[in-house]
């Protein structure tokens, strides 16, 4: 299977502000390279400050890298070209409460990416919105409601609808499941798995929860201070972590699991 998204040597360093900024800060990202295929999920783990969120923002286009290239289906992506990029790479944020504009109805919210990026007329757009809402498990009538009428789990579904409405190929989940209750989390995971099957999406999952990562991802990449310290298949890495940072992260998870087995 050809690679959907390929990243080579992505680096991002702090921009020094003139003479006063004499301290040399380590770069936020240092030569990060990886590749993702369709129907596969890549998990990125690391402590806070290891550069995960910056990587997510660079991939989706919110920030630009100092150097390095991103290839989508073989084509290089230019920084700042949102219109082209947003049709292929989309992102779901962590806090669903602030990602939905409180003054717009769901229809207006989902209409916006369609109006900007597609040539459809209004009837077709409404139909597409209705279909997308049904795909994520909400009713078509929900498009007339305002965001504050929905619960947390439903708001995440709306964010997911906004992400898939442009038929992208890669979706980045930046801690999107962390704030949900466990039962809602399981429902969301089932939904994401279904969509991956149906639409052939590739996911990039950034999370702290090892249980989800173990269940949901195929490959895993460990970041520490901006550098990639370990990559590989999830099951292999979780069973035999090679690098010290990975070992520490796994130990915490295994500690909880192993001690339960001894009870």
């Amino acid at each position: 299977m050809a690679e959907l998204l390929k990243v080579e040597g992505l680096t991002k360093s702090y921009q020094s502000k003139g003479f006063w900024f004499n301290k040399t800060q380590p770069p936020i990202l240092d030569s990060v390279s990886f590749a993702v295929k369709a129907h596969k999920t890549l998990a990125i783990i690391g402590k806070t400050g290891s550069g995960k969120s910056s990587l997510a923002k660079i991939l989706v286009g919110a920030e630009s890298a100092t150097s390095g290239q991103i290839y989508l289906n073989g084509q290089a992506l230019k920084a700042g070209s949102y219109q082209h990029r947003c049709q292929h790479i989309r992102m779901i944020f962590q806090d669903s409460g602030t990602t939905l504009n409180p003054s717009l109805t769901i229809q207006q919210l989902l209409d916006e990416p369609l109006k900007i990026n597609t040539p459809f007329d209004e009837k077709k757009r409404t139909e597409l919105i209705r279909q997308t809402l049904q795909k994520v498990g909400l009713l078509g009538d929900h498009m007339n409601f305002y965001p504050h009428m929905f619960s947390g789990g439903q708001k995440q579904r709306i964010s997911l609808a906004r992400a898939i409405i442009l038929q992208p190929q890669v979706i980045i989940l930046d801690e999107a499941l962390a704030s949900l209750d466990p039962s809602l989390r399981s429902q969301m995971i089932n939904l994401l798995l279904d969509l991956q099957q149906q639409m052939g999406l590739a996911y990039i999952l950034i999370s702290h929860n090892m249980g989800i990562i173990r269940h949901f991802s195929d490959d895993i990449m460990v970041l520490s201070e901006g550098k990639v310290v370990e990559t590989g298949k999830t099951l292999d890495v979780m069973a035999n972590p090679q690098h010290q940072v990975t070992q520490k992260l796994m130990m915490n998870q295994n500690f909880q699991l192993r001690s339960k087995k001894n009870r």
Partner: protein, 297 residues
């Protein structure tokens, strides 16, 4: 399909409707709002409804006291001034001058201020700072002084006072718009809009403005009460409305010499000014109070 409300239906209003429902529950704000609407109607239809002309006086009806006095005449409900002009008609025409003009002044400065403020918020660095602060020098000059300066340059007249008050109010709107837009930019849904490929103006119009309109409205009412007072003061000083325009401040100044023999020519315009300022302030307070309560929910 016709449906009667048999079940207790859950009503989920839009944010504006929420604001309106909270506003409606505060009796003081509703009282202020009804007075405000009354003044607006008067400002529009006053010239049609006034019983007599505000500028032509009947010389045989000079200085009639208001109708509830023993000497008063019921066809001149609030008395007449020294030229025999009916006070009621003068006040009604004055509404469209003082109150109506203040409304227009606030509208103009709002539009200009919001445009400059949004531009300032969209840009960064020197350009942004420049746009934000270049009118701040006007904030340091009291409005009266500015009006006197403008009048000294351009000559007295109502239109010149309007320019003076507009200039004074614009910086406030610039600041509040810039602050509100910058705050909104930090929110995640604006980032999501940007990632959708929306141009900055589109983001501004669709995503940001619906959320900041209420704050700007609160500021606008505060600006309006200041504008009413400014226009009236300038009229009082003779720099604004010229004779024989029935602007409230000018009417008040006219009656000042006759205070001991005909006090109604002074206190009636004064009460009118007080009434409009209080109504505007109550509406403004109501909006701000409702905004605070809506945020708490």
């Amino acid at each position: 399909m016709a449906r009667d409300k048999i079940y207790l239906e859950e009503v989920f209003p839009s944010p504006f409707m929420q604001l309106w429902m909270i506003f409606r529950k505060t009796p003081v704000a509703m009282a202020g709002f009804s007075c405000f609407i009354f003044l607006v109607v008067l400002a529009i239809f006053g010239p049609l409804l006034a019983p007599h002309s505000p500028v032509e006086g009947q010389l045989d009806m000079i200085l009639l006291p208001p109708a509830w006095h023993s000497d008063g005449n019921v066809s001149y409900l609030l008395g007449t001034d020294e030229l025999g002009r009916d006070m009621l008609s003068r006040l009604m025409y004055g509404t469209s001058l003082t109150f109506g003009l203040s409304f227009i002044v606030v509208l103009i400065s709002l539009v200009v201020g919001v445009i400059i403020g949004s531009l300032s918020a969209l840009t960064t660095g020197m350009k942004s700072s420049f746009l934000n602060h270049f009118l701040d020098v006007i904030l340091s000059i009291p409005s009266l002084l500015l009006a006197i300066i403008i009048v000294a340059i351009l000559g007295p007249g109502l239109s010149n006072t309007v320019w003076a008050v507009v200039m004074v109010l614009i910086p406030q709107f610039i600041h509040i718009t810039r602050y509100a837009v910058k705050e909104e930019f930090r929110k995640d849904y604006v980032l999501a809009s940007r990632l959708d490929g929306a141009s900055p103006f589109r983001i501004l119009y669709y995503s940001i403005f619906p959320n900041i309109v209420d704050r700007i409205m609160g500021q606008a009412t505060m600006a309006q009460s200041a504008a009413i007072l400014d226009i009236a003061t300038l009229g009082f000083l003779g720099l604004g409305a010229q004779i024989p325009m029935p602007e409230w401040g000018a009417t008040l100044a006219n009656g000042l010499d006759l205070f001991y023999i005909a006090p109604w020519t002074v206190y009636l315009p004064g009460l009118a000014i007080l009434f409009s300022v209080v109504a505007t302030n109550l509406v403004g307070e109501g909006i701000r109070h409702a905004l605070k309560l809506r945020k708490e929910r």
